[in-house]
Structures are given as C-alpha cells and as structure tokens.
C-alpha cells in the first residue's frame, strides 16, 4: 500500500469522524458528508472533463436520475440503498453509454451545448411529470440508510456510508486515470486522429468514460436522496452542474486530488459565507472568475499531480502501476 492511500483512508475513516464526534455537531457532520458527496460528483466529472476533455454540463441528469430512482424505489418498493446503488449505477451506466455513443462525436463546445440541453430537459421532465416524480413538491420522507435491521440513519452511519462509497469512487477514478487506460483516454482527448493512428478507438473510449461518469453520479444521487431525505426539481437545475464544473476547474482539470479539493472548497466557502447573506452568489462568481484568471491550471494541475503520483508510486513500488514504468 502506498503511503498516500493509507493517509487518505486514515483521514476519512478515523480522523474526520473522530473530530466530528468530538465536536458533537451534526451540522458539521452534514457538511462533511456533503463535501464527500460533492467529491464523488467532482471526481466523476473530472474523469469526463479533465481526463477525457469533454466539457459537460449534464451532471444533474445522472445525479438526479440516481436520486429519483433511490427515492421512488425505496418509497414504493421498500428497497435497500445497497440494491439501489447497484440498480441506479447500472442503469445510469447503460443510459450513459447510449447517450455517450450519440454525443461523443460532437466537438468540444457542441458537446457542452448538447449536455446543457440534456440538463435543462431533465429538469423540465422531473418538474412536469408529476405523476411519477411528484413534480415541484419533490419527494419527501425518503428513508435514511438501512441495511436490514441495521439502522445507519444517524450522522455517523450516514457519514461512513458516504465515505466508503466516496473512497470506492476515488479509487476507481484513480485506477482509471493512472494506468494505460488513462493514458489512452488522454491521448483521445489531445487528438482523436493521432489516437486512432495509435490503434486506439477514441470515441469508444470517450463513450466508456461517459458511461462510468454517469454511473458514479447516479451512485452519488442515491446517497444524496437517502441522506437529504428530500429531493425536488430545484436540486437539479443547470446551475448545480455549473457548480460541480467550477469545483473541477478550481481544483485543476485532470487531477483527481484537485477535483476533490475543489469540491471541498465549493461546498465549504459558500457555507462559510452564509452569514454574509446576499454576497454568496457574488462570491461564487468571483471564485470562479479568479480561479480561471489566476490559476488557469487549477490548484492541483494534472501535470503536477501526475508527476507527484509517479514519484510516490515509484517510491512505494506499488503494484502493477508502479512496475509498468
């Protein structure tokens, strides 16, 4: 095991919960959980936008799909969240694959516009399809996390469920990006023609990444529905997509660690500014603007992170990824 992974595990599974327990503050626990949820979204979007280079604004589609699937399944059929994670993840991956195959041939800005159309259409659908989604009222009374008789509704249970899923997603994203596969995807990002000449299938790679990202977002949606206990169309407006994209940009496109850092900033800074009231929106815009202008590569850039990871892996002599060098 490399040292960074041990540190991360210890931090998320021991240190943070201990601090939250000491603070005895469910509000802080809720924020910590929200950060982890946003980390899943940012890491997933980073796979798509950072590593595969597809600027997407449809985060809310798959996130919302997972959330609504979880809410409606658990209320109507009493399913467990574990079942929903698998079902929603698989369904989103399938849907993502189909959408991905259709959309990946669109170049940069057109892809962004098409995904924006998807996001707005999704919102209109959940808002107007009242028979299924309960329309603008949203879905209330969603049960918390439970496994059989084991009640995980409290802050600690909610935190641990989210942390474990988050770690799993980060691990998957990390393995995908720091591998031959990741390099292939990056090649497809830089130049489809060259990638094709290298014997890769760039569009298939991109569609695959799109499907994986959709699955991760749906998983986050399931967690969101069960921890928030309420979802409504307003949770899935275009601006939420822009928020996650901002997190990825602030953190540094292409870097898994950067995406996670960006997610933490984008959740915690506006929350800290809550007292300032009406300046929050202004602050959000200003953070985005300043980070693009002053930190065009984000806080932790892809190149820097990759270089750091290589050193860490070489030092740790970790598994296949390390040996392949």
């Amino acid at each position: 095991m490399p040292r960074p992974a041990v540190v991360l595990l210890a931090l998320l599974l021991v240190v943070v919960p201990a601090l939250l327990w000491l603070a005895g503050n469910p509000y802080a626990a809720r924020l910590a959980q929200l950060v982890l949820l946003t980390v899943i979204l940012a890491v997933a979007l980073n796979l798509l936008t950072g590593t595969a280079g597809m600027l997407a604004l449809d985060t809310v589609v798959y996130f919302g799909f997972g959330a609504y699937a979880a809410a409606l399944l658990s209320l109507n059929y009493g399913t467990s969240f574990l079942v929903e994670l698998v079902l929603a993840g698989a369904a989103a991956a399938l849907a993502g694959w189909c959408v991905g195959v259709a959309l990946v041939r669109l170049a940069s800005i057109f892809f962004a516009v098409a995904t924006m159309g998807l996001a707005i259409s999704f919102h209109a659908t959940v808002l107007n399809w009242g028979e299924l989604t309960r329309g603008p009222m949203g879905v209330r009374g969603i049960p918390g996390f439970r496994i059989g008789e084991w009640n995980l509704e409290g802050w600690a249970g909610t935190y641990y469920v989210t942390a474990l899923v988050c770690l799993a997603c980060v691990w998957v994203a990390h393995r995908l990006t720091h591998s031959f596969y990741g390099n292939a995807v990056r090649a497809a990002r830089e130049d489809e023609e060259v990638a094709r000449a290298l014997g890769l299938a760039p569009r298939r790679l991109k569609a695959q990444v799109y499907a994986v990202h959709a699955a991760m977002m749906a998983v986050a949606g399931v967690l969101y529905a069960h921890s928030n206990r309420f979802i409504g169309p307003d949770n899935f407006v275009l601006l939420e997509s822009a928020l996650v994209l901002t997190a990825v940009v602030v953190g540094g496109l292409g870097s898994v660690a950067g995406a996670a850092l960006g997610a933490a900033i984008l959740v915690l800074v506006p929350e800290a500014l809550r007292g300032v009231g009406h300046l929050r929106g202004l602050a959000f815009g200003a953070i985005l603007f300043a980070s693009i202008l002053l930190l065009p590569r984000g806080l932790l850039s892809e190149v820097r992170t990759l270089a750091w990871m290589r050193r860490a892996l070489a030092a740790g002599g970790w598994g296949r990824a390390g040996r392949r060098r």
């Binding site: 808002l127 815009g285 200003a286 603007f289």
Partner: protein, 301 residues
Amino acid sequence: MDAFILNQLAIGASVGMTYAVVAIGFTLIYRVLTAVNFAHGEVYTLGAFATLIGAATFKLPLWAVVPLVVATGALAGWGIERAAFRPFRRYADEASLKSRAVREATLLSSLALGIVAREALDIAFKGEWLAIPQDYLLNQPVRLGPVGVSSGELVIGGASLALLAALQWMLMRTRTGVAIRAVAANLVGAQLSGIDINRVVVAVFAVGSVLGALAGMVVSLAYGSVQSYMGLTVVIKAFVAMVIGGLTSLPGAVAAGVLIGVAESVAGIFVPSAWTEMVAYVLLIFTLLFMPRGLFRWGGA
C-alpha cells in the same frame, strides 16, 4: 387555417424575434473569436435596466433613452472583453488564439463574469421585479386581419431585421466591417495586414453588446417588467439559435430564433405549455446530431 392557429403562429414568431435579436450580438462575437460570451445575457439585462433607469428615474423621453442604452451596451461590451477575454489572448499566434483551452477558459470566465454582474444587479435592485412606466410601453393592440399583435412586437420584429440589415451593411461595406471579417477569418493574417486586433475585438464586443442591450430595451418596453435574472433564459435560447443557425451565420441565427419561437408555440397547442421549454433543446440535439453545420447553410455572412 383558423384564426386561433394563425394567432398562435404569430405569437410564436414574435417570441422567436426576441430570441433572434439577442442571438445576433451573440453570434457576431462567436463568429469573430470562436468563443462563447456567456455574459451576453447580462448585457441584455443591463440594457433593460438602463431603459428602466432612463424612463423611471430620469424620465427621459423615449428617443433619449436609446443613446443611454447604446452607451450602456458599448461600455458593458468593452468591460467584458477587457475582463474575461483579453487576459486569455496572451500569445498572438493562431495556435493559442483559437485553441480549445482558450475557448473553454473564456466560456467559463464570461460565465463567471455574468454571475457576478447578475448578483450585483440583484443586490443593487433587491431582486425586485420593476415596472417600466406605463406611458413608455409599446403594447397597443394592432390587428392585422385575423391576427392580433402588439405594437411592441412590430417594433421587436422591425428592430431585429433593421439591426441585422445594419450589421450586414456594416460588415460588407465599411472598413471596420472588412477589419472585423478579416479578424474573424484569420487572426494572424489580420495582424500581419496591419490590423490592430485588440481594437477590432473591442469593437466587435461593443457592437455585439450594443445589439444585446437594444434587445433588452425593446423587450422590456414590450413586456413592461425588468428583473436581474431576465437574461438567463434568453441567453440560452440565443445560444441554441446560434447553433441551429449554423454558428457563424447572422441571418441563420435570426431565422433559427424565430423557428424556435414558432416551434415552442406550435408544440404548446398539443402539450401543456410547461413542457414547451424542452422544444428548443430537442431541436438543438437533433440539429447537432443530424445536421452538425446548422439547419441553414446560407453561407455569406
């Protein structure tokens, strides 16, 4: 066709004209820099607020509001270019001027600037819906055979066609127009021909934003209310109109804007109007997938 259908089409066309008039400025900027100016919606909003301030605060006559709106638009365009676009033109070769990184960075920087502007307006005007004074409004009913429209709609339609014609004339017949088209066609070639591209780009932003602000003015005069979030929906529709119209074609964007309005209206006959919001995006995705160069390949400008 019965009067109901005709009226529905007329309403759709007039709503489409409001998308079209915003799309003109938006498309002009895209055409020159291949960059999307997401702050354009806020320019539209600023135009509407300038109209409100001119009419309600200073009680200027309508003809005097126009220069105020024009000045507001020009200033906003200059500011957006300086703050959100120029910082990314660090090198002057083609590889960096129109690279994907620059396009995406300016898309986000203009989006961020738009958010800042919108929130600032929201704070300044307390998020209120504000009414344009009654006697400035262009909403007298006008009957054209079986179809009833308002004077404002005729003004919006007339204005968007006039602005389109004026812009086309400017692009084709004036030296500034030649310079703008040269910059749009080839940034490096334009510089080596002695054209100061920074000046041309500022001019483009100023002209495009003046058009956006004028759009905000006529729409606010036709509908009568103004609010800080009003540009949000419209800029997205203008974007869609630009893509459907073929990205760089001004007449294409206008036609696509009208088409979107009519399609929304026609769809509204068959489904509840809340669903018609999706019409533009269905059109958009259809266009992108099956006619990636836009519905109208009208060449020329």
